[in-house]
Symmetry: C2
């Protein structure tokens, strides 16, 4: 029987592994906890980029070229908003805006954000549980050489050009974890961390009180897939952000960012020389091709990761 | 110098005369008071059909074929909402939805609805003042053989098929008139009522406390253009609604619905035999071609109406 798998995932990279796992696991055995700290309101609509990327990927509706947004999008609403004098640097497609309108309406009606995410996923035919770490406000803020920016301002408007000096998760201290996310961690047979940005995709999930502790005390093997290949990210600013946070921009830096939370790390074959250093830190290591360019590669990496994780020895927590 | 003109107007028919007036008047001499009682929230967005029809018409962006909505519309957002399980009987185009998103955001920020309407009009290049009768909630409710319906439910979803028994303007008693609408009535040299539905387009404007009284005590000549041609409406259910309200479905019925509020009535040449009956009621009458199928016809009717209204004798108010 397939083990119960819980995956922590960010946007584009996380969604790729989520797709791979979804291709090989029965939906009821897989739970995915996504990142909500990139959420931002645009034009009064609540936009949840990482959750939407996961949803659209799992529903096979994603724009494969860009890795986010819906395939075959148009931008008529955005053009209309621009005509009315609105700032339209955040690219929002027309079909995508339907999701934001739907989400915003339900939020205003008081529906829990995690129930909304699950309802959207179900409407789009997704059987896997798509969970939010918290239903409370949680916002990544980035201090740069241009001052404090909301994450999407840094990421989309400024195209990651400002130098990052500090990352803060606003609301983290007060946020409550969702019971579904805690349960998915507590009951998991395998805990996985997707090849996502450790600093702004995974860290905000871990910043929700109770989530980190639940992972620490879980008895399941815990395995992360490194988002770095040859010291670089496939997409996004994870490399620069690791450096900014004082980690090495390497697999040992990724491992350090997950200290106490993982037993094993999957790294790319190109980085096989990192194995010794990682093992010296007490980590179990698997090397394989981690670049996922098609569903077959996603499923193969998922399969190999599951086999590796199942065989992983749970490192004793220091207590 | 062009007189100061204030027009009370509903949607499609009203917008045609508004266009005609706008074509021949300097923008600062023309004020249009639109109908907000057809407004309704869809998918959490505030939709204002009559105001949008006026705006899009005056901005020359209207879909000329259907008389409402924007030209060259697509419906991607609506398709997205349908996929998420939403009821999508209210046709909302993508560019149009930009207007609703913009309006909703500003309303939630506490901006006065009339300031929003004016701002949208200005963004679309309209110089004329587009005024709302009230900034307060005002909703046309229609009692039919199927029970009470919101106006758009009756008009769009049920396509005016249910038999109308009663019309109620919810919120009218508590609504405050906007100072701009009152001022436009009080300072007008000519007061016009567009060829709109007297029962559900003009009556809700008049139902706002203070508006009817301001028209009654104005010293300006007051002229309505009948929406009926040969006892029928060009579009919409005005004929059936007049009957339902106990008025005759004729120009005398239209005149009766405006009793005490107009000095003159413009009727179609085809109805010239109505003149005697109308004059017997103390009304001054002009007959002309009132069907407006192109801008030239709109401008001609506007021009003739202004000439007629300027020559109209103000009937003494009964006090």
């Amino acid at each position: 029987m397939t083990p119960r798998i819980t995956l922590l995932a960010g946007g584009v990279g996380g969604a790729k592994l989520a797709e791979g796992l979804s291709a090989i696991c029965p939906p009821e055995r897989l739970s995915i906890i996504g990142n909500v700290a990139d959420d931002q309101e645009f034009h009064g609509l609540w936009v949840s980029p990482d959750i939407d990327t996961l949803t659209y990927s799992l529903a096979d509706l994603i724009d494969r070229q860009q890795g986010w947004g819906l395939a075959g999008e148009s931008h008529r609403v955005l053009a209309g908003l621009e005509r009315l004098g609105c700032d339209t640097w955040m690219s929002l497609g027309d079909q995508d805006i339907a999701t934001h309108i739907f989400r915003t309406q339900l939020r205003r009606q008081g529906v829990r954000p995690s129930a909304i995410a699950q309802s959207i996923a179900e409407s789009l035919g997704i059987g896997t549980k798509l969970l939010l770490p918290t239903d409370d406000p949680l916002q990544t803020r980035v201090r740069t050489d241009q001052g404090w920016l909301a994450f999407q301002e840094y990421f989309v408007r400024e195209r990651c050009r400002p130098e990052v000096r500090e990352v803060h998760f606003e609301g983290a201290t007060e946020a409550c974890p969702t019971p579904e996310a805690l349960e998915a961690i507590e009951t998991a047979d395998l805990l996985l961390i997707a090849p996502s940005n450790p600093v702004v995709s995974i860290a905000p999930i871990l910043a929700v009180p109770g989530i980190r502790h639940a992972i620490e005390k879980s008895l399941a093997p815990r395995v992360a897939i490194s988002p770095l290949i040859g010291g670089c990210t496939v997409k996004g600013p994870a490399d620069r952000m690791l450096t900014a946070m004082g980690y090495r921009c390497s697999n040992t830096g990724v491992a350090a960012s997950y200290a106490g939370l993982i037993d094993g790390l999957v790294i790319d074959s190109i980085d096989r020389t990192d194995r010794t250093a990682l093992e010296a830190e007490g980590l179990q290591v698997m090397t394989t091709d981690t670049l996922m360019t098609c569903l077959e590669e996603k499923a193969r990496l998922a399969e190999e990761t599951l086999a590796f994780a199942s065989a992983c020895r749970r490192v004793e927590a220091e207590t």
